[in-house]
């Protein structure tokens, strides 16, 4: 009987293709928006999470905000991380300069730091080397630059051994970093990054002194919160219990905030798409009600011939279900197409989220059944003689 009902449903759907398509349109749009939006959000979340991971989420950043009466010296830094939960420490200081060669010039963000910075920030050197301890000790005028800076200012990426002017001062390029699409910590809009010894930066810029204004600490293991508490105690001790002297910035908190934003976004977009699926369901109900009225006479004939209430109910319910499932299938097909196009146009590689496909199929079945039930019941409970008399 179910097979027969399915055949009848396919017949009914095929006999009025345009109307069936328009009926399905609501479901199609609902499914496409649900699948595409959630897949895109998931894809974006994935790449944002990758970026956050590559930030080195096991590091803490400290800004010294006041405490000028008891300034932190470069030589003291190691004493701050005596607890074994800490791994390495590196001072950071930033300024903006003009980098130039005879080829071109650009505005660059320069970070003055020490050797440890490379490990803390998980930087990879493509050629040459990173800043080493002697460079810091000797106040050497050496620079490590990002690959795009090498390409744009020097004209190519393999430029180790050449010189580059930073605000007119000659610097020897000792290393070129591998390009990564990570979000940088104190992200400048420009991707051009140059790293020079902390001691060298002092000479480059008047505003920077030997007093440390900010530093980064990498943590062993992943209990960043515990490390933060310990560092907090160390710093309180160092600054005579002046809580306002410094601020600690915990990167796992950004990651958490980020993923909660993404979850909220998924839920929100999914909710909107879900509403459009519901609207699609109302469209199905509407058409099925029209169809039940239009086919009153047919229902009467079927009942006179021996159709039971159950078989008429089944016929209409299966028809509604098929409309929503066909719609869902078409919607999934279109979603796949949209994602492929987004991937090509946006040069990304998002994939369709299988769980959301499952959810949309389930939701379509639900919508088809719920919104099909009322018209189907209306058709099934018609009295045969009254249905036959209907014109």
């Amino acid at each position: 009987m179910i097979i027969q009902s399915m055949k009848m449903a396919i017949k009914a759907i095929a006999s009025n293709k345009l109307r069936s398509f328009l009926t399905m349109l609501g479901i199609i749009i609902g499914v496409v928006s649900l699948v595409v939006l959630v897949s895109l959000v998931n894809g974006a979340t994935g790449s944002i999470n990758d970026s956050i991971d590559s930030l080195g989420s096991n590091s803490l950043t400290v800004n010294i905000t006041s405490g000028q009466d008891k300034p932190l010296k470069l030589s003291e830094l190691d004493s701050l991380i005596e607890n074994e939960i800490f791994d390495e420490i590196a001072p950071t200081s930033k300024t903006s300069v003009t980098a130039s060669t005879s080829y071109a010039e650009e505005n660059v963000s320069v970070t003055g730091t020490t050797t440890a910075y490379m490990n803390i920030e998980k930087l990879e050197v493509a050629s040459g080397r990173f800043i080493m301890n002697p460079d810091v000790d000797n106040h050497s005028d050496v620079v490590v630059i990002s690959e795009d800076l090498a390409v744009d200012v020097c004209g190519r990426s393999n430029v180790v051994g050449e010189t580059m002017k930073l605000d007119g001062k000659n610097y020897l390029i000792i290393g070129v970093l591998e390009s990564s699409n990570s979000l940088t910590s104190n992200s400048d809009n420009s991707d051009y990054q140059a790293y020079i010894p902390y001691t060298s930066l002092i000479r480059l810029s008047d505003g920077i002194s030997l007093d440390i204004s900010s530093f980064e600490v990498s943590v062993n293991g992943d209990d960043l919160d515990k490390a933060e508490t310990i560092l907090e105690n160390v710093l309180l001790n160092r600054f005579d219990n002046d809580e306002d002297a410094y601020s600690i910035f915990n990167r796992s908190q950004i990651a958490e905030a980020m993923s909660s934003v993404n979850n909220t976004l998924s839920l929100l977009l999914g909710g909107i798409a879900g509403i459009s699926l519901l609207v699609g369901g109302i469209g199905i109900m509407n058409i099925m009600l029209v169809s039940a009225t239009e086919r009153t006479r047919e229902i009467g004939i079927r009942k006179a011939i021996g159709a039971t209430r159950g078989s008429v109910l089944m016929q209409f319910l299966i028809e509604a279900l098929m409309l929503s499932l066909f719609g869902c299938g078409i919607g999934i097909g279109i979603s796949e197409l949209v994602i492929v196009i987004v991937n090509i146009v946006g040069n990304v590689s998002y994939t369709m989220s299988i769980s959301i496909v499952g959810i949309s199929v389930g939701f379509s079945v639900f919508v088809g059944l719920v919104f099909g039930l009322y018209p189907a019941n209306k058709a099934a409970t018609m009295k045969p003689i009254e249905a036959l008399r209907f014109n």
């Binding site: 009914a12 006999s15 009467g300 011939i305 021996g306 036959l388």
Partner: protein, 224 residues
């Protein structure tokens, strides 16, 4: 096999009550070819609807094969219509979206006859009415007489014990009507029970027995 005992059917429209059937008692035996004749509005269709279990009496009792119909549930009534009754309507009542073969097949689908057997019986029934070649035609591609023959094939395909025909020739010209009547006589000769409703005395006369009805009351029974 059909027995009415003091059956009445009353319609209430506004203040007016219409006694469509008024204390009707009758009985029809297996294998009989009975015509029911009466003018328009006399209650013929009402009578047929009750015989065919499409409608129920307000008063009195209807026994089908010895059992009172009011004891049956709606589902059981559907099964009775499916297995025991073959309807033929004045306006044919074929399903427009289905072709001739599918229309004929329909009662067997509800009887859950296996597909192969259905196919065989569709062929048999359509050949009997001479329309096997037109089996893929939709009702609107057939003439009135052809549609009525398909309807007869449909009624026959379910192998019912009673054929109920409500003015089967009413919408047809006299020649086509004669063909249809010839078909009924043939079915009667094969042993089928037929109840034929008509307002045409000539048509009524072709049955074994004629029951005349007027204002919901049986006037007289005439044996042919």
């Amino acid at each position: 096999m059909i027995r009415f005992e003091n059956v009445s059917k009353i319609y209430q429209v506004g203040d007016e009550t219409v006694k469509a059937l008024d204390d009707v008692s009758l009985s029809i035996e297996k294998g009989e070819f009975v015509s029911i004749i009466g003018p328009s509005g006399s209650g013929k269709s009402t009578l047929m609807n009750i015989i065919g279990c499409l409608d129920v009496a307000d008063m009195g009792q209807y026994f089908l094969d010895g059992a009172p119909i009011e004891n049956y549930s709606e589902k059981e009534l559907a099964h009775i219509r499916n297995k025991k009754i073959g309807f033929i309507f004045q306006s044919f009542n074929l399903i427009g979206t289905m072709d001739a073969a599918e229309n004929v097949e329909l009662p067997m689908i509800y009887q859950r006859v296996p597909a192969k057997e259905r196919k065989r019986r569709v062929e048999e029934a359509l050949k009997m009415v001479g329309l096997y070649e037109r089996r893929h035609h939709k009702p609107n591609q057939l003439s009135g007489g052809q549609q009525q023959r398909v309807a007869i094939a449909r009624a026959m395909a379910g192998e019912p014990s009673i054929l109920l025909a409500d003015e089967p020739t009413g919408n047809l010209d006299s020649n086509t009507g004669k063909q249809i009547m010839a078909l009924f006589r043939e079915l009667h000769e094969q042993g089928h029970t037929i109840v034929l409703i008509t307002h045409d005395p000539e048509v009524a006369a072709q049955a074994d027995r004629s029951i005349a009805i007027h204002d919901g009351k049986i006037r007289k029974e005439v044996a042919a």
